[in-house]
């Protein structure tokens, strides 16, 4: 019998993500396992199966085994990675994130906590406040988690002694006070026995406050900041020409504020202005007139200005700040220390660019909240305040005003190695690259060479944004120009800019650019294929040093801008057609006097 669909109401329930953190072995997984078991949230089959496995292997059953699913975790009795489990409360659902307490897995703790809206910090009553109790408390504040409850666990081991509980509370409250964290409650708990987890603990009649479950139900869901100024980091620009779709859609997720059709908007850092024409939608009866914080949307513009990934769209009266120097607080997770003179990739929202440390202000050991004793580097698991200098300007905010556009991560080589928040946007500094070499050239300049050889020098950057196409196209053009007697040179950039140059070694990215400039100044038609997703942008190519008067054409297969120097080819065309199209547009640029 089918149900009456019109009267069926299935609102998905509110969901809050909660992370459980604390020192290793203070009982985080046990607490979560106990909570699941005592609220009947666990498949009885699974509970029975885990118990049977323990019996078979001669191990005592532990609630933690319900969470510590990985083989290595059960063998070692510790949590290695943050596990998420779904838990149904009275009022709403929870994602409980069980984060590892072992120092070696701090990056996993941070990954888990970065997804949470509230936290339970666990402390062993017997051991008291330990290194990671402090470190995790500090990191919660860095990660911007304001709702915190402290559970003092293993009360059964100290005879449910209120004096011990009070001492732990005093000590830890003091520490958290120094970093401006105010816990909503301190709760004495026995996770092993389930005391004050879901049900009240009979041996602790002196405690009248909330149980863990009650404290959880009191956490507030943070609302999306729809009433704040608009922040719309551009994620991509779509034009699905091939499928016969002429819309040019700027896609992204609104991280703050509200957007309306007809709004005047500005893109930063470029400062270009236009108006919102439509807010696009799929599988909707009508296009929406507004969109707000939290939504992933796409918009079209009244004027086709050039915007690209990494720009942030906002309203002109409430802009972001633009600079290339930032004062930040960060935590470092990389195996190699963060050092001055090394180049890192900074990612903020959809922006990605290169940076280096200009100055170390303070490096601290978060486990004790004291100075680390060194100020020329940040070692793994340390936190620091530093000034970062970016190669290109970035549009950003202060983290306490706009969470999403005020925090960033740093990538070292292939790996994310740190994360931080922006405290202050400093005045833009002089633009400096990581390598400061110069060279002088001879007196026979490019113009003379061009006149003698009968054609101009041109740089053609072929972007590998469609599998295999750019490389073979470049080869075909090289061959046909060579046959026609042109001076041509082809090379391929490798995406090596993210790899650290060793001290004394030339930065490879600069080396690649330098080669292009040198070849063009020698009169060559330079065909450079550029790998996709390398942090080589169009601007990089256009701003090649010493190439101010050499035309630099872009060849791409994805994208929307198509003009005299930016050629977007239709990938549906065959190789011959593509080649002919490039030659048709390239040949006029070669003519002397053009």
């Amino acid at each position: 019998m089918p149900m009456n669909l019109t009267t069926f109401e299935a609102p998905a329930r509110e969901q809050l993500s909660l992370v459980i953190v604390g020192h290793v072995d203070h009982g985080k997984s046990t607490l979560v396992g106990r909570m699941l078991a005592d609220t009947g949230s666990i498949d009885p089959g699974r509970l029975a199966r885990v118990k049977a496995i323990c019996e078979r292997q001669g191990k005592r059953f532990e609630y933690a085994f319900l969470l510590d699913a990985l083989e290595a975790e059960q063998a070692q009795g510790i949590t290695i990675d943050a596990a998420r489990c779904f838990f149904h409360g009275e009022q709403r659902d929870y994602i409980l994130i069980d984060a590892p307490g072992h120092i070696e897995f701090l990056k996993n703790m941070i990954s888990g906590a970065a997804r949470a809206e509230a936290a339970i910090l666990l402390i062993d009553a017997e051991e008291g406040v330990q290194e990671n109790s402090r470190r995790h408390g500090y990191l919660l504040s860095l990660l911007g988690i304001r709702q915190v409850v402290v559970a003092v666990n293993k009360m059964d081991r100290i005879g449910y002694d209120q004096a011990v509980f009070d001492r732990v509370e005093r000590e830890y409250r003091d520490f958290l006070g120094q970093i401006s964290v105010t816990p909503a409650a301190f709760i004495p708990v026995s996770a092993l026995e389930g005391g004050n987890v879901v049900t009240r603990s009979a041996p602790m009649p002196w405690y009248q406050g909330p149980t863990i479950l009650q404290a959880m139900e009191r956490f507030e869901k943070e609302a999306e900041p729809a009433d704040q100024p608009l922040r719309f980091p551009v994620q991509d620009v779509y034009k699905f020409n091939r499928a016969g779709d002429a819309r040019r859609i700027i896609a992204g997720r609104i991280t703050s504020g509200t957007l309306r059709t007809g709004d005047e908007v500005v893109f930063l850092p470029s400062g270009k202005k236009t108006r919102i024409k439509t807010i696009e939608a799929f599988n909707a009866d009508a296009l929406p007139g507004t969109a707000q914080a939290g939504q992933s949307v796409g918009v079209t513009m009244t004027e086709q200005i050039y915007a690209s990934r990494g720009d942030v769209m906002c309203h002109p009266d409430r802009p972001l700040q633009v600079s290339n120097r930032l004062r930040v607080n960060l935590v470092w997770l990389g195996r190699a220390a963060l050092r001055a003179g090394q180049v890192y990739k900074l990612k903020l929202g959809t922006f990605s660019g290169l940076c280096e440390v200009e100055r170390f202000i303070e490096v601290i050991d978060a486990s004790a909240l004291r100075d680390s004793g060194h100020e020329d580097r940040v070692e793994r698991h340390e936190v620091a305040e530093v000034v970062l200098r970016l190669r290109d300007p970035i549009a950003c905010d202060l983290s306490h005003e706009f969470a999403d556009t005020g925090r960033f991560v740093l990538v070292d080589g292939y790996d994310m190695a740190g994360g931080g928040i922006i405290r202050e946007v400093l005045s833009a500094g002089e633009k400096k690259g990581p390598v400061r070499w110069t060279s002088e050239v001879g007196s026979i300049d490019r113009r003379l060479r061009e006149t003698r050889q009968g054609h101009r020098a041109v740089v053609v950057a072929l972007h590998e944004d469609l599998e295999g196409t750019a490389e073979s196209l470049a080869a075909a053009i090289e061959e046909s120009l060579w046959t026609a007697g042109r001076h041509v040179f082809r090379l391929r950039f490798e995406a090596v800019d993210v790899i650290q140059p060793r001290p004394g070694e030339l930065n490879l990215r600069t080396a690649c650019f330098g080669r292009v400039a040198a070849l063009a100044n020698a009169g060559q038609v330079v065909l450079a294929t550029i790998p996709f997703a390398a942090s080589v942008t169009q601007q990089d190519v256009l701003r090649l040093p010493g190439l101010e008067s050499v035309p630099c054409a872009q060849v791409r297969f994805r994208g929307d801008r198509d003009d005299a120097l930016d050629w977007v080819l239709d990938p549906a065309h065959g190789e011959r057609e593509l080649h002919e199209e490039v030659r048709r547009r390239l040949d006029p640029l070669l003519a002397l006097g053009s």
Partner: protein
């Protein structure tokens, strides 16, 4: 924002990040409910288009209705559908009779590995619905997968962007950090990244979304009169149906709200060993 809207917005964000960062990107489509929802989300993310191939590993033992549904949707939605299969193992007589985990390893894990790295056969759908050998043999460096965190223990520890080694291994004890929607998009040559847009979705959210969007899903999930239906789809010999009269998404939601039986309880390969699925996943199983 409602919870489903939040899940949708996050999944779309992840799909767009994948598209912006990976040149050779594909999406694994098992024809099951999760990856079909993921495919629907991709159409939302890209405004009706799906700008990368959909890859299906055909073990040859799939339920025939799954294949029919796949090809129908592929044509209706204009998908670039790519099929991979371990033809060598099938020719040598591989099947569940050789042992379930052996069969899974050969026809799923192995087939997937060689389809992704381009060493095995790939067939691409033609305008008339037939399949022809695919000329594109480039390895896929970004692979979008519909794994959900609540399915089983080891999946709850996944990242949204999760690196795999050359051998397809998942290095569980050394996963990259992931914070504030910044994902791992830099990777060494030869390795690839698995992308998980559905990590935060629960089984019930999937059905709530199917109901809300009115989107198509294979009829195997519904009771059509026999009093039985599938709750999780796999190969015909190893996937059991469950007793249920639910015949639409709304009835399934109602049923799920009143059960705590595990979703994969009908999947025989999970029962052989408590860490069976973790081992399969470490070796590259979805």
């Amino acid at each position: 924002m409602e919870h489903l809207d939040k899940l949708e917005a996050q999944s779309i964000y992840i799909l767009r990040e994948a598209y912006a960062n990976f040149k050779n990107l594909c999406m694994l489509w098992s024809i099951g409910k999760d990856s079909t929802v993921m495919l629907w989300l991709a159409r939302k993310a890209f405004f009706g288009h799906v700008p990368f191939p959909l890859v299906h590993i055909d073990t040859h033992y799939k339920i025939p209705e799954m294949i029919r549904f796949r090809d129908q949707i592929a044509l209706d939605w204009g998908l670039t559908m790519v099929i991979g299969q371990n033809e060598e193992a099938l020719a040598a007589g591989m099947g569940p009779g050789r042992g379930r985990l052996t069969c899974c390893t050969a026809l799923k894990t192995r087939a997937l590995k060689q389809t992704l790295d381009g060493t095995g056969p790939r067939y691409r759908i033609q305008p008339d619905g037939s399949y022809a050998p695919d000329t594109d043999r480039e390895p896929y460096t970004g692979v979008i997968v519909g794994a959900r965190g609540d399915e089983e223990g080891s999946r709850s520890k996944e990242r949204y962007f999760s690196p795999r080694t050359k051998e397809n291994d998942w290095q569980l004890d050394d996963q990259p950090p992931e914070l504030w929607n910044q994902f791992k998009t830099d990777f060494a040559p030869g390795t690839h990244i698995r992308i998980h847009p559905l990590l935060d979705w629960s089984e019930i959210n999937i059905w709530e979304y199917i109901a809300r969007e009115g989107m198509p899903i294979t009829s195997l999930y519904y009771d059509t009169g026999s009093g039985r239906r599938y709750r999780s789809l796999g190969c015909a010999p190893c996937t059991g149906d469950v007793a249920s009269t639910a015949s639409n998404p709304f009835e399934i939601i109602e049923e799920l709200r009143n059960t705590n039986i595990a979703e994969r309880s009908g999947r025989a390969q999970d029962q052989e060993d408590p860490h069976a699925l973790e081992r399969l996943r470490r070796d590259g199983y979805m």
